[in-house]
Symmetry: C2
């Protein structure tokens, strides 16, 4: 979690009215950049992170000391080539890596906990818009992100239709489905079931709902992988033993793997942030903002869209990505679409999937040449 | 949970050696029957229940006062016609509806908790075999069950190849997949994360890990329904409100539904039984018992098989059911197979799915006429 070191922070002075009705001001947005902004300031790419991501897109994350979440895609000569582009990413509000969130203190120096306002994807992108002013960027070259990052991409171009030349939503949806909400609610219930959660006031009580948060992470993690991918990687392989032990320790590698994923997550993430960010995802319904007509969300933009889905992603399946393509096509927008063959499930966008990475690179570089 | 009333119990005197190596004896098997055994004793159907089922197949369950879990399929003139057949179902060992399980006491009058031996699907069916002797049945007319019930069907006919004329595994698998194990492990972690679980000794500590058990149930419940079915039934419908409330109460009907499913489950199920039964499912790998050759499991039986899967079942998808068909075909067994079109997911076998119910009825009645 945020220890304060190595975190670049922009204090947003302009008041921001949130969807819940409250107004926030003088709040921090933590961000990171990669590459250099050119003199024309036309090479900036704003990357939006997913549920458990942060601003540390590539290289070693200084807080976790692990590789950034999009290291396969972003870096010198990579798909998002930092020799060429200036990459900006900020921690979403509601998050726990420096941006304004439930672990921050209110005006009475009391940690917000669940008194932090419930935020939306719309609030997130409106807060992040301040980064353009900060860097003096009139128009981004591209905006991109996968999963919840893709939701922010869609919301951003809807809110600021002339602020990006290209738009790349990946493995995402324009509206959270009942199954998506169900899995998020499961995670929230796991956290709030932990007696150490203490109605969100765990920090002042010097406790930590780590067990509940770990269960939430395990549930989510299963949804990030495909059934086939899990079977191929783990199957029924045993964990450092010759045979079943007839007990409740982790006999199978998949059990051990899930437990590990849960335990390392707790070291880097805040339970209340998990509640807030999943809530924002569940509230996301872009079509509803336009009386049920998704096309209307994009009617004012001339941006060039490229939408990417993955065959084995059952969390945000190809059909939900295609629904965005259809909405764009119906208003004659400039839109490309590719479904990438992968058995790595929803996580494909984070992994070394060469067809995906080359599609992303080709779209960006070709579009940049047209500049 | 078992309150003792209205529970028929058979005490099994014959020692049973479990797969874990321990031997149990003089243990109870709680059962229920429907219809009448005919004089030739050739009309008995042994039904095996799924993870959270019990012996109360149809009519009002005297413990929960709700409809039995297979009321759509079993009853007078129904698919499994109790005017014609004698239906027997028993609570699995490890369960909590009267059969020998972790809430029972050991020889020192101490509640077993996690000192109860880890049991397997093989142990379950070996224990249930005693019911045939009890009723003086030499050969069953049929054995059937869905999900974990289907696993017991497969194991039973493998262990006792001449003890059933027909065999109907439904929505099941011959080997628990990595994803299946992952979801079960998630449920176990949710239970053991509850501080009231107390290493399984919650009863003697006068606590109840109800929150953890509810989370486990919610996780499982999502897997029982299809994405499409959830979307059609719930979508993004709000729960008794005009608009989002910007809080963490259940805004969406799907949230409210899941919370309800979790809460009612806790009233009828025991947390340790949930651990034991999911463990038995995860351990199930029928092919492994025959050196990886599933066909060998069935080589000694002349029974007539009928295998049923559902299009939208992603927990035990059609392919895993087909694998059983293939294994049977490869040894020239008498096997029929049908994939039923349904958007109700894995739960289809429990619901009013007319194509399924008529297929089941037709197979049984035609096979019985051949008697």
């Amino acid at each position: 979690m945020n220890t304060g070191k190595n975190i670049k922070t922009l204090i947003v002075n302009k008041p921001l009215k949130l969807d819940c009705g409250k107004t926030i001001k003088d709040f921090p947005i933590a961000y990171e950049t990669y590459g250099s902004l050119n003199s024309k300031k036309d090479n900036a790419i704003l990357v939006f992170h997913a549920l458990t991501g942060d601003q540390f897109v590539t290289g070693i994350n200084p807080i976790t000391n692990k590789e950034g979440w999009w290291s396969y895609a972003v870096g010198p000569d990579k798909a998002i080539d930092t020799n060429k582009y200036f990459v900006i990413c900020s921690n979403v509000i509601g998050g726990c890596m420096g941006s304004y969130g439930p672990s921050h203190k209110d005006s009475d120096e009391k940690i917000f906990g669940t008194n932090f306002p419930v935020i939306t994807i719309n609030d997130m992108v409106n807060a992040q818009y301040s980064l353009l002013d900060h860097f003096g960027i009139n128009k981004l070259f591209s905006i991109t992100g996968g999963s919840m990052g893709g939701m922010q991409v869609l919301q951003f171009i809807s809110n600021f239709p002339d602020k990006s030349k290209t738009v790349i939503p990946i493995a995402t949806t324009s509206s959270h489905s009942a199954q998506n909400i169900a899995f998020n609610e499961l995670g929230r219930q796991a956290i709030t079931a932990d007696s150490n959660w203490k109605d969100g006031n765990y920090t002042s009580n010097e406790t930590n709902p780590g067990k509940g948060l770990a269960v939430a992470r395990m549930a989510a993690h299963i949804t990030y992988l495909s059934k086939k991918g899990l079977q191929e990687k783990f199957g029924r392989k045993l964990q450092e033993r010759e045979d079943l032990k007839f007990g409740f320790d982790a006999d199978f590698q998949i059990e051990s793997y899930l437990r590990y994923q849960g335990s390392v997550f707790v070291d880097r993430f805040d339970a209340n942030s998990y509640l807030y960010i999943t809530r924002a995802m569940d509230y996301f319904d872009l079509a509803k903002q336009f009386n049920g007509n998704l096309s209307e969300a994009f009617k004012n933009t001339n941006a060039k869209f490229f939408i990417i889905s993955f065959t084995s992603d059952w969390l945000y399946p190809t059909q939900e990505n295609k629904d965005i393509v259809i909405a764009l096509n119906s208003i004659g927008a400039d839109v490309g679409f590719v479904e990438i063959e992968s058995d790595k499930g929803h996580d494909s966008f984070l992994l070394d999937v060469p067809d995906f990475l080359s599609a992303l690179k080709n779209f960006l570089d070709k579009s940049y040449e047209e500049n």
